[in-house]
């Protein structure tokens, strides 16, 4: 049984006024056992802490005296028994060959013969209609590699291809867009061509599809999903008029968490270091896009402002303990990689000057493979020309071009890690 704690001292910060003290900075507590500040969604207060869940189902060999997180790949848990493979999606046009190639060393690529399902384009890009292009996406779950195919269906790949037979969506024309993984569930959003969005989770173990809350009808088309395992966030971007809103899932409902500035449109998200980072899109010489940070306590602030006007920040990727993001603006052209070390942002590489990018290379997906960062830059406007690039960045900071002049879709994945 829980025991009583000893008596406490007389008050933090002395004596105080009487009214409504719990969620004001001057109204702190005397003492509190097993409660915590909960200051999210604009309805903060002090509430009960949850219990602790065991990570390991069976006990370890003894008392846990120390541990460290290792952000590296291991084969120790049966991840296929062989070397990891970097998968790169290609546009399978008439004369352009197979839809996927793979490499176990990040240098030599060969056809993945059994993977014949083409991937949806996966790139972040503003276009001339003030719209964020929809990213097809790939994602990793614990048992397999999942991606969105050209027909916007969810496909599983673990040596063989399986199209996930999802139950019918409320609207028959709904299609799948961006994926994210949270606690073994795959979250994705759908779009049916009309101005509405719905977010679902799919449990690979049970095959259960669950609608996540209900979104108010908004003139929106694109929902980037981000999660830090505690909060699930979405952002709604729109055509015209722009709905510049970010919603957070709370108690099964989507609550408006933040409204962006007048010219800002959410373009991409990723959790990093306990905070969310959101990149925005600006167009029409309306100013420089920014990266916003949402702290663990739900406070939003500007983290980075681009040195160039227009374009979008996205996607984000975490590598080597740092957060990377691409600022892309095609007309200038700008293709710059910024890196955040937890304290400050720096320009990591200017791809226009380093690799001669001319703005037609859209920032696609980025994955970590074999200790390096791989980033796809497809040129979808040039199909069927084969001018996409796959870049590699080492932990030491060296950028190189791994693939050039291939018709990439921007989708990448890693299997067997």
């Amino acid at each position: 049984m829980p025991r009583e704690l000893p008596d406490y001292l007389v008050g933090q910060k002395g004596l105080n006024l009487v009214a409504s003290p719990l969620h004001t900075p001057d109204g702190g507590l005397l003492v509190a056992q097993n409660v915590e500040y909960i200051r999210v969604f604009g309805a903060g207060g002090i509430g009960t802490r949850g219990g602790l869940a065991r990570l390991n189902a069976s006990p370890l060999a003894g008392a846990v005296l120390a541990f460290t997180y290792v952000p590296l790949a291991t084969n120790a848990f049966g991840g296929g028994g062989g070397p990891a493979t970097l998968l790169v999606a290609l546009e399978p046009g008439a004369s352009l060959g197979v839809p996927w190639i793979g490499s176990t060393d990040g240098a030599a690529f060969s056809t993945i013969a059994a993977l014949t399902e083409p991937a949806l384009y996966a790139y972040w890009a503003p276009d001339n209609t003030n719209e964020v292009s929809r990213p097809g996406a790939v994602s990793l779950a614990s048992d397999a590699f999942y991606f969105v195919n050209d027909s916007r269906q969810l496909v599983k790949w673990n040596g063989a291809t399986q199209t996930i037979p999802l139950p019918a969506f409320p609207a028959s024309v709904e299609n799948i867009y961006s994926l994210t993984v949270l606690s073994g569930l795959i979250y994705f959003d759908t779009h049916n061509g009309a101005p509405s969005e719905t977010v679902y989770s799919w449990n690979p173990s049970t095959g259960v599809l669950t609608q996540i809350g209900t979104l108010t009808t908004v003139t929106g088309e694109y929902v980037p999903i981000g999660t830090n395992n505690v909060t699930l966030l979405i952002g709604l971007a729109a055509t015209i008029p722009a709905a510049r809103e970010v919603y957070a899932l709370s108690g099964g409902s989507w609550l408006l968490d933040h409204t962006l500035g007048a010219a800002e449109i959410p373009a991409s998200m990723l959790p990093f270091g306990g905070a969310f980072y959101l990149g925005t899109l600006r167009s029409g010489s309306s100013g420089a896009p920014i990266v916003l940070a949402r702290s663990g306590a739900g406070v939003w602030s500007t983290s980075l402002t681009a040195s160039d006007v227009d374009g979008a920040f996205g996607p984000f990727v975490e590598f080597d303990g740092k957060l990377f993001v691409c600022h892309w603006e095609p007309s200038a052209p700008v293709t710059k990689i910024y890196v955040f070390d937890g304290a400050s942002w720096t320009l990591d590489e200017d791809l226009v000057s380093s690799f001669g990018f001319d703005g037609t290379e859209h920032p696609g997906q980025a994955v970590v493979f074999d200790g390096a960062l791989y980033w796809a830059f497809p040129r979808p406007d040039d199909f069927p020309a084969e001018n996409g690039s796959l870049l590699k960045r080492t932990a030491a900071g060296a950028w190189s071009q791994v693939i050039n002049n291939r018709c990439l879709t921007g989708a990448l994945g890693v299997v067997g890690a």
């Binding site: 003290p21 005397l30 500040y37 290792v70 848990f77 949270l182 306990g274």
Partner: protein
């Protein structure tokens, strides 16, 4: 697939952060773990290096979890040089040899100190024959590296690798211009933990180097470090003293790796290393008469460091060093009422990104285990606690990561890693066990603590729950007032107005709930109809 490496008693094990699956890590033959010490882990250069609790420093290959000794002993004997039967070299030469380990791709992952120099041989258009090349007894050694001078020189340069641990001779005629331009490294083994009996008591990664402190009495004030991006290249030149040396028997008590400075903590002062390399490393004093008592209490959060000293918790950032506990919860740390101050050195800190709080596990007064913990909310500079962990005995705190999300976790004496920030409002051991939530407000005074007040009805604003009641007790009178009016609030209603609280100078409230599966979230409260007695 990310994972955690865990010291579980006298074993090392890996835990899959996504599934909780466990994999054993087999130690090198002859290496043991002392369960009375904590392992110090450093992840760098795609290797996991383990210090302190291990009888000899080791490193772990993350891909296979294979373990290797970090220290490879220097070749016990120098090679022997003679003129060979070929042609090509003229002048006086000498050579050395080192043992090493390469990975499957041919990259050097470990290297021993160099042997003594060979005899000198003078050649006249002859080639150079090396014999008596030492063989290592270390099973990890899979190559030897020969170094030699240029003709007539005294500096040894990398010459050639012999990719086995068998061959004892080599003949070569590579010209002086053809061998490496770089002088041989001045490698020593790690200053602690290379041989049984000494340990590297502290270790951290900063500026792409491993930094450590030896347990040897004459080295406890020295911060030793490796060459850039290596785990093996220690040297006598890579040491910085945390002056003054010999001032106490503790030496360096902690490292604080901030972005631009490495804190060297002692019991009574804080120093810092700045710079990028041996060319410009400097040790400067940050503050004196403040230090670090518990190395495991150190947590760096967004370039601000938090740690425990004798009289409270301190923060070190660009503004300096300040005590963040003195103004509000000073007695927690300066009296023996709350915590066992004799065991402050066992305190373990952690960061909870969801609540944006520095959390510190402490031993309660009269006890020996880390059963209590307090939390400092960084957002609003408020302390909460002391909290009690009753379902298990916490032993360590740290952060894990799953698919990019930070997961604060607590290690326990029962061999489990427990994940924080869970939504289930029941204890972990059994779903039916409630969590005891209790909070006590400060004493309200209406800005006049000497005047007797009438304290009216309590109005409570709370989240609408599916069930449960919240007990509210009023303490009206002086600071020593006993509990008075006690009432229950139905948590399914959201807002309620309760009973009058009473008459007295001060009023404090205590809210409490202990129901399995149920919780509360108080948005705020007010005490209605409050006035000074006689002045209504």
């Amino acid at each position: 697939m990310s994972f955690a490496v865990v010291q579980a008693g006298t074993s090392l094990q890996a835990v899959d952060v996504a599934t909780g699956a466990i994999a054993d890590i087999t130690l090198p033959a002859g290496v043991t773990i002392d369960a009375t010490l904590r392992c110090r882990f450093v992840v760098i250069d795609r290797k996991i290096v383990v210090f302190n609790a291990v009888s000899e420093n080791i490193w772990i290959d993350p891909i296979t979890l294979a373990t290797h000794r970090l220290g490879i002993g220097a070749p016990p004997s120098a090679p022997t040089l003679a003129a060979g039967g070929g042609t090509g070299l003229t002048g006086a030469y000498r050579a050395k040899v080192a043992f090493g380990q390469k990975d499957g791709g041919g990259a050097v992952v470990n290297l021993s100190p160099l042997s003594e120099a060979s005899n000198e041989v003078t050649l006249a258009n002859e080639d150079l024959a090396v014999s008596a090349i030492a063989i290592s007894s270390n099973p990890d050694v899979n190559f030897r590296r020969l170094y030699r001078t240029a003709a007539g020189g005294t500096t040894f340069f990398e010459w050639v690798d012999i990719d086995d641990n068998v061959t004892t001779s080599y003949v070569g005629s590579e010209s002086d211009a053809a061998i490496s331009d770089l002088p041989a490294p001045t490698i020593t083994n790690a200053p602690g933990g290379t041989v049984p009996g000494s340990r590297m008591t502290l270790a951290t990664a900063w500026k792409s180097r491993i930094w450590g402190v030896s347990s040897d009495d004459d080295e406890i004030d020295d911060a030793a470090y490796t060459d850039l991006n290596t785990i093996y290249a220690w040297s006598n030149a890579n040491r910085l003293p945390a002056f003054p040396k010999g001032e106490d028997r503790f030496g360096i008590t902690g490292f604080i790796p901030r972005r631009d400075a490495l804190g060297l903590c002692k019991r009574s002062r804080l120093l810092k290393v700045i710079g990028e390399s041996n060319d410009d490393f400097q040790v400067l004093i940050v503050v004196e008469n403040i230090g670090v008592l518990a190395s495991d209490s150190i947590v760096v959060i967004r370039d601000k460091a938090y740690f425990l000293w004798e009289d409270g918790v301190y923060r070190w950032d660009d503004e300096g060093v300040v005590c963040i506990s003195r103004a509000s919860v000073d007695p927690w740390f300066t009296t023996g009422t709350y915590f066992n101050r004799d065991l402050f050195a066992r305190a373990v800190g952690g960061y909870n990104p969801f609540t944006n709080a520095y959390e510190l596990g402490l031993v309660p007064a009269g006890e020996t285990d880390l059963l209590h913990w307090v939390a400092y909310n960084i957002e609003n500079s408020e302390w909460l606690g002391p909290n009690l962990t009753d379902a298990f005995t916490p032993s360590y705190r740290g952060l894990l990561k799953d698919d990019g999300a930070l997961l604060p976790a607590i290690g326990s004496d029962d061999g489990y890693l427990y994940l924080q920030n869970q939504a289930v409002l029941s204890d972990v051991a059994a779903a039916a066990v409630a969590i005891h939530g209790k909070l006590r407000t400060r004493h309200h005074s209406q800005k006049n603590p000497d005047i007797t007040h009438y304290w009216g009805r309590l109005a409570l604003e709370s989240r609408v729950e599916s069930g449960g009641t919240l007990t509210a007790r009023a303490y009206v009178g002086g600071v020593d007032a006993a509990a008075g009016v006690t009432q229950s609030f139905n948590l399914t209603l959201g807002r309620q107005i309760g009973l009058r609280l009473g008459v007295g100078r001060l009023c404090s409230l205590e809210f409490e709930q202990q129901e399995a599966g149920l919780g509360f979230l108080i948005y705020g409260y007010s005490i209605t109809e409050t006035f000074e007695v006689g002045r209504r």
